[in-house]
């Protein structure tokens, strides 16, 4: 409901900014201090979207590894070792989540350098609020994953812990599906 409200707010304010920069249209004086192209960087955001989708894959592999830890053969092959390593997949998920946050930090910084802040116009206010809240959820997810990774290193995660890992996985995929909606509604639809 929180994200539904934030997405609604973004869509309602879309196209109602009276000064630039604008998301999909170029901006020239007097609407902007200097001439600026459309501010959204689709290639960069597409990469970050791909990173977040892959983090969901590594999360399901982490859960599968935890669930099947007691089914590991006595002499596992290399691929069985890789697929069965919950530490590797939890670490990969946290790393991909952090990479997504890095992309977001880069995007926010470049927007500020181009003159778009949360106070510039309606687009800036609704965009930074929506994507900032999503980024905060990703940050919470990364911290959660790192906590699970620390537990895995300390005492090992096994089938008895499958439920707690599953709950964190559901949270992570929720963050992913919210981004799927944001990517289309904010970045791709002009």
């Amino acid at each position: 409901m929180l994200f539904a409200s934030l997405i609604s707010t973004y869509l309602i304010y879309k196209g109602r900014s009276v000064v630039g920069p604008f998301p999909h249209e170029a901006c020239a004086p007097p609407l902007c201090a200097t001439a600026l192209p459309a501010i959204l960087n689709i290639p960069i955001t597409s990469q970050s979207t791909f990173v977040l989708l892959m983090s969901s894959l590594s999360m399901v592999l982490a859960l599968a590894a935890v669930e099947s830890k007691d089914k590991m053969p006595a002499n596992p092959t290399f691929s069985e070792k890789i697929l069965g390593s919950s530490k590797l997949w939890l670490f990969m998920t946290a790393l991909l989540g952090t990479t997504f946050l890095g992309y977001q930090a880069f995007e926010f910084t470049s927007f500020v350098h181009e003159g778009l802040t949360i106070r510039t116009n309606l687009f800036g206010s609704s965009f930074f609020t929506l994507t900032g809240f999503h980024g905060a959820h990703v940050t919470a997810g990364v911290l959660w994953l790192l906590t699970l990774l620390a537990i895995d290193f300390k005492r090992g995660l096994g089938p008895k812990d499958a439920l707690i890992v599953d709950i964190s996985a559901l949270y992570w995929h929720f963050v992913d599906v919210v981004w799927i909606a944001i990517f289309t509604l904010v970045y791709l639809i002009k």
Partner: protein, 119 residues
């Protein structure tokens, strides 16, 4: 703590015995799901860069459909709702319908969407 975990595990096993919990997808299914999600994302971005298509009336509906398909795939396979008990499906789809209805209602309320011609 150990007791707590053993209770959780027993609870999970009980649900499994009752047929309430089903097996999750396999590694091969996960791999295909990731590939399909990537291909749909590539198609979405590709469509964004075709000017005549962006100008057409099909652009927005097609993007929304592709996004909805990605959403559904993640929910069904990664969030394993396809394999879960119908109660969990209802617990997810119920609030989702409320959320989507809220978005549509707010868009109508603030004149972003309208039915029929304006006077």
């Amino acid at each position: 703590m150990a007791d707590h975990h053993s209770h959780e595990h027993e609870g999970h096993a009980d649900l499994k015995a009752m047929g309430e919990v089903h097996e999750h997808p396999t590694w091969k299914q996960y791999k295909w799901v990731a590939l399909i999600l990537t291909l749909i994302t590539v198609a979405e971005v590709w469509a964004y860069y075709i000017p005549w298509f962006v100008a057409s009336r099909a652009f927005v509906p097609l993007l929304l459909i592709m996004s909805a398909v990605k959403f559904a795939i993640v929910v069904m396979f990664y969030m394993h709702l396809k394999y879960d008990h119908k109660l969990f499906r209802a617990l997810f789809t119920g609030p989702l319908i409320i959320a989507i209805s809220t978005i549509i209602a707010l868009l109508f309320l603030f004149s972003k969407l309208s039915v029929g011609a304006h006077a």
